[in-house]
Subunit: 479 residues, 2 copies
């Protein structure tokens, strides 16, 4: 154990004598002498989350103006105290939503790292000079937030980072073909000055995006990387239990020669997708010629049309950016060659909202299992009710789950609002969508205590002993 | 298992027949019929990190302009491929640095949640209107980045979020005293238009900060919360093994009546700290009257002076902001009362750089143990050397550590550059500061294989059998 020397702040005593001298003494070592830092490596324990203390403001549920441009996920997220509007298209993510987003980010990390992705973090402030070199400073128009620093240098708030990452690679003069493919990604806040922000997190001005950039030594290798990322996107959406579709897409202002979008089919979706039942061809309608009614691939079948929420977008860029910034590598013949690039986006906050959009009912949130902010909500009996003595069983349960099941560490919430009936709290739990709701009621008072367990994803209710409950919960997958 | 219907993208085949049809077929289900998503919950496995593939560009180590305004941590971080300069005061965080930062954030999460902190995320775009209400729109001057959206509405990029969080609380009309103290915090990117960014991550224009805001029902309760946060800050710095000091500080443009700074004593520090050896009083010199040479508390002792790097700052705000935004709660008498606030900042990227500044030598990085990007680096024998047959022992070791020691999952790097000597790779490992370097060399060829283990924090070298090595490593604390 290292010797640490701390000096404490005893001035507190002179400033506010009564209160603070006590506080000061309790927590600080007030003699300026060396001492062992005995707690140097003690890990603190987080208290059990209590519903009464969770900041998930219920009055925001009703009081907030939702406005015209609304959709199910936005309404539910506002009502459930998951988000709160700040400026148009900019939201506060409240604690439950942030927990969910952090899980999604861990899932994305797993998938991106499994295909060799390395995580970086690039500045939000991007120099205009870089964007002028790629020609996008003009091209992006009003969609880009622009500003000047105190020296009147122009910047934008990065909506995407092709320029920045290519410049980074170009600065590395010794990149070898042996290091390729190189896949760099980040999960950061992005900015886009939407004309009309709407649908909550689905079309905001400030949002979280995962953007990955790939560098390869040949077109074939780059297309292989492209496919591997598409595959990872599909697997991610599969793991979330979402129905999705991959379609041919427009390259827009990113550029390149090949592009796909990943969509969740949904009525609120802003894109029209056409799918051929015969050969499987599918495309965003904006990539087809106007009025085209037959499949351009098999020419026979009529299209099925669907609306979709775009949650991912992939681009094969070729050397569009690497040529501008001179991002080269040394090839097997020891000569400089141009990197062949791809770029790949996932809307992080958008996936969150879109999955609630497609999984929830009008008034009850349903999460992709892995993304539920908490997996289990335990309802102790109502205070003063016949079952009220069973409250200690509820407390034991929280402890047991925390100690015995590593997958559910920090995942159990206690709805301690025991002034409310079980029924009222059950209604709240149903609306908020905890995957497992455990009621400690009358049946917990029997000689062999039994708990009522509602599995909200399936809608089933079962009655289980403590051991059977722990067994059930030990299978809950978390990330 | 849910039935999922995917439509695949077979258009690929017509666009680029040779390459992509293969890719397309391999990874996509090309018949638009319903099927089971068999891999829906399979968790992917990340490959073992190989030094040859880690993006930690060595040429950035020498090629980059460090400039005049430099310090040890900046130079080491640039040379080791941890960061790369983008714009003045804005850095790319490269993969190793990002891993370290993510560990620091997990540690901060543990400490903040242990004292009841709930994590949120507030927009970077803050409406000028809010800042005008608090009077800080003018006060902040050129330090604040300002911009307009496409409708000519004024915003700033939040350097701090007192206004935003108080407005959030004010919008909750039913906050009860029973819900207090309420501690909301976030770890997000902050922006400050420094006149002269310098010292790498120590004084940047875009950086990560943890900012927490507390709401209490009385001054006494608020001061108790204030103390509990200070205590958590101390514990965090203890867990990092850093020598720190807490001093009385100026309230600056945040305001309030009581403030403290947490410093790491270091020559490069920009603050002058005075500490009384007699009574323990300590203060930032800017809080004392000019020319004061005796301790204002005990009036006897001479001061000891030190320079410090500020890594944390706490403010007791009282009702300064809650009055402006009318952030009230319902008290025990069922009447509205004004929340009593505090705010608490930790420089996340600054702690990272500051700890390298104080722990490293001129040419070798030393990390706080918990923050090392990887805990273990394994060096297999040089290709073609006498020991080269022991390479499989190195591979077994990587597998074993990954499978047997949960604390080291993902924490082991293999330096596969076996064209280089052990000595050359050892030098690199020493410079980059992996806490444990394991050499699989000559002694691994003996009948009872022995590995050379360098514990870089202590500088010790020991020779251990496989089991003794696993035993040693099982005690490595990670976060």
């Amino acid at each position: 154990m290292e010797l640490l020397m701390h000096f404490c702040q005893c001035k507190l005593r002179t400033v506010l004598p009564r209160t603070l001298s006590r506080v000061g003494r309790r927590n600080h070592h007030c003699t300026p002498q060396s001492f062992h830092s005995v707690h140097a490596s003690s890990k603190p324990v987080a208290p059990t989350p209590l519903v009464s203390r969770l900041f998930q403001p219920s009055n925001l549920r009703e009081g907030q103006e939702v406005g015209d441009m609304t959709c199910r996920s936005q309404r539910l997220m506002l009502q459930a105290g998951l988000i709160h509007l700040s400026n148009p298209g900019c939201f506060y993510y409240l604690p439950a939503a942030l927990r969910s987003m952090e899980k999604l980010v861990r899932l994305i990390d797993e998938e991106m790292q499994a295909i060799g992705g390395q995580k970086v973090d690039m500045p939000a402030l991007c120099a205009a000079e870089l964007w002028k070199r790629s020609g996008r400073w003009e091209l992006m128009g009003k969609e880009m937030f622009r500003l000047q620093d105190r020296h009147n240098i122009d910047y934008c708030l990065g909506p995407t980072h092709e320029e920045a990452v290519t410049e980074l690679l170009a600065s590395q003069s010794t990149l070898s073909y042996k290091q390729l493919p190189l896949l760099l990604y980040q999960v950061t806040r992005k900015f886009r000055d939407e004309q009309k922000p709407k649908f909550g997190l689905l079309r905001g001005r400030e949002f979280y995006m995962k953007d990955m950039y790939s560098f390869d030594y040949s077109e074939e290798a780059a297309l292989h990387t492209y496919q591997s990322v598409c595959h990872a996107y599909g697997r991610l959406l599969d793991r979330l239990g979402l129905r999705w579709v991959q379609v041919q897409a427009d390259t827009g202002n990113i550029g390149g020669t090949l592009s796909h979008e990943f969509h969740l089919p949904a009525e609120v979706g802003e894109d029209r997708l056409l799918m051929c039942e015969n050969c499987g061809f599918s495309a965003n309608v904006e990539t087809l010629e106007a009025g085209q009614t037959d499949c351009p691939q098999c020419h026979t079948a009529p299209f099925t049309e669907s609306k979709g929420i775009e949650v991912g977008h992939t681009f094969y860029l070729g050397t569009k950016y690497s040529q501008v910034f001179n991002a080269t590598f040394t090839n097997a013949q020891n000569k400089l060659a141009m990197s062949v690039m791809g770029c790949f986006g996932l809307g992080v906050t958008r996936i969150l909202a879109a999955s609630l959009e497609v999984l929830s009912s009008e008034d009850s949130i349903r999460w992709p299992g892995l993304l539920a902010p908490y997996q289990v909500c335990i309802l102790p009996p109502k205070k003063g009710s016949k079952a009220s003595e069973a409250v200690h069983l509820a407390e034991d349960l929280v402890q047991n789950i925390g100690n015995i099941l590593p997958n559910l560490k920090g995942e159990v919430v206690m709805d301690d609002r025991t002034q409310l009936t079980i029924g009222k709290r059950m209604k709240d739990a149903n609306r908020l969508g905890y995957p497992y709701v455990v009621v400690v009621g009358q049946k917990a008072m029997e000689e062999n205590p039994v708990f009522e367990v509602v599995c909200q994803q399936s809608g089933e209710t079962v009655f289980l002993s403590r051991d059977a409950l722990l067994d059930l919960l030990s299978n809950v997958e978390t990330v």
